[in-house]
Symmetry: C2
Subunit: 307 residues, 2 copies
């Protein structure tokens, strides 16, 4: 059983979907990654920053899920990062209403000594400068996984490329893969991105599933078709948490095992969207995850005898 280091935002979100809206609730990439990875019973720790306005109960929630919070800096007098967004009717697109960086603006991450020897490093969506500072502090990680987004491709491409050159796996969505590579075909896009550094490329297609590429190999995990998607917030982070958490648990970084990891990522993400914010992930238990794995098998596994 390996050790997982997570870096990412711990934040407030205010979310509006066709099903309703929330006040400021717990959010942030590292929060979702941590809650998701906690399903594997591994030793995981978060590096992040919050303000003095951040409720202790949110930190306690992570602790209760066995996510170590020693690496979460609390800035005196500071205000926590806040994001607010509104989803369109199709749930696949959203408008950002508010982004207040607050304490995130000057964040220089410090990895606690106990997590500098992490086996797996999960770099959640954040400024590439922060991600690089974390990479510099870890000693011989077995696997570094990077999640990022188009915002950094637009605003900090050179710094992002330096991070991409140092990671083993990158997870981005289909439009971001096209933007980063300049290729429309996802097969070609993945090949171009592999040339930038990562040996494995995961392309997330939201409700259309996720693709894993490695050399000339491909694997696909569908999203579980659901009766209702209440709130997509955090689904990508939850996917990343399931992916990296499963790999840390199994300590097997082969392509074959990464297939299982993206199935687990999709599995956990399918829960995340069932309720607003982190609500569904907070109450998830092992039996539910195993039952859903059976649903994924039924959804995808077939047996054809050639004649």
């Amino acid at each position: 059983m390996g050790k997982l280091l997570i870096v990412g935002t711990v934040a407030f979100d205010a979310i509006e979907t066709p099903f309703g809206k929330t006040d400021k609730i717990l959010g942030g990439a590292a929060t979702y990654i941590g809650l998701s990875a906690s399903n594997f019973g591994i030793d995981s720790g978060v590096v992040s920053v919050v303000g003095e306005d951040f409720p202790q109960e949110h930190l306690d929630l992570l602790t209760e899920h066995n996510v170590n919070i020693d690496g979460i800096e609390i800035v005196k007098g500071g205000k926590t990062f806040f994001w607010s967004g509104k989803y369109h009717n199709d749930m696949n697109s959203r408008d950002t209403l508010v982004t207040e960086l607050n304490v995130l603006a000057d964040f220089d991450p410090v990895v606690p000594a106990a997590y500098q020897n992490a086996d797996v490093v999960m770099l959640g969506n954040l400024h590439p400068f922060v991600q690089m500072r974390v990479i510099e502090q870890v000693k011989n990680p077995k696997l570094i996984v990077l999640d990022t987004m188009n915002f950094w491709m637009d605003s900090a491409l050179e710094e992002l490329k330096q991070v991409i050159a140092k990671v083993d796996v990158i997870t981005i969505n289909d439009e971001e893969a096209r933007q980063l590579s300049g290729e429309y075909s996802l097969v070609k896009a993945a090949r171009e991105i592999e040339k930038m550094g990562p040996k494995y490329v995961v392309i997330k297609k939201g409700e259309h599933g996720a693709l894993l590429f490695h050399d000339d190999k491909m694997f696909f995990a569908p999203a579980l078709p659901l009766e209702e998607v209440f709130d997509p917030t955090g689904a990508g982070d939850t996917f990343a948490g399931g992916f990296s958490g499963y790999l840390a648990k199994t300590e097997d970084y082969s392509f074959k095992n990464m297939k299982n990891a993206i199935i687990y990522g999709s599995n956990l993400a399918s829960f995340c969207v069932e309720k607003f914010g982190t609500e569904r992930m907070e109450s998830l238990d092992k039996k539910e995850v195993e039952e859903r794995l059976e649903q994924f098998k039924k959804l995808t596994q077939f047996k054809i005898e050639l004649s």
Copy 2:
């Protein structure tokens, strides 16, 4: 080994994609369905209509692929149905430039005696009136599969609903499923459509794969990620031909076997888009189809041991 009856257009297409454009070439739903189904070595026959302008070599092509053309009426002095379309850069949307119904306008199909006892009836995209006239002429088919599109939902909804009530399987795309059911969630949409008659609902998502629904069961087949899609024309018909052809060959109409059928539909459709028009399907051989089946297995099959 069962017998397959196919009804649909046999036509001229002129296609423009970002990769080039064609003059008037062989097209039509029944053409693609027939070529696709021919990969299963079954007895299949097409019911359709063409004008006197239709080249004998196109009819010969079907005959060479063991597709019986006795049911293709040639209208003296008539002109063949012509469609022209231009695909956008994303290849997922297109504009129809020209639609000339010609001989299709007055088509009243006659099913040859030898195909009135077909085991599987594949109703390709056509006016629901024509589809119903074919249903009326077949005796105790084991399975009727309907392919249709939004054009008929807009222009002939009541006639379409009467056809839907009489079929076992319907194949439509995701937007059409939403339009027909009034439900955004595809899980809910499929449930509503099952109430209209079909026991099985196949929702085609183009490059995002296809879903099969039956009662509370679901199965998903991805599209094979390709380096380049040259021309999506006929991909949906080719899928339908693979689906219905495999079922006619195996004569097993269970949910379990329909999973295999949509894998074969996806398999064959993945070839169709590799070249313009019917070109790729004309030269396809069994070995290529079997090799691609292996690619589909590698793309989707996984093995997770719970611990």
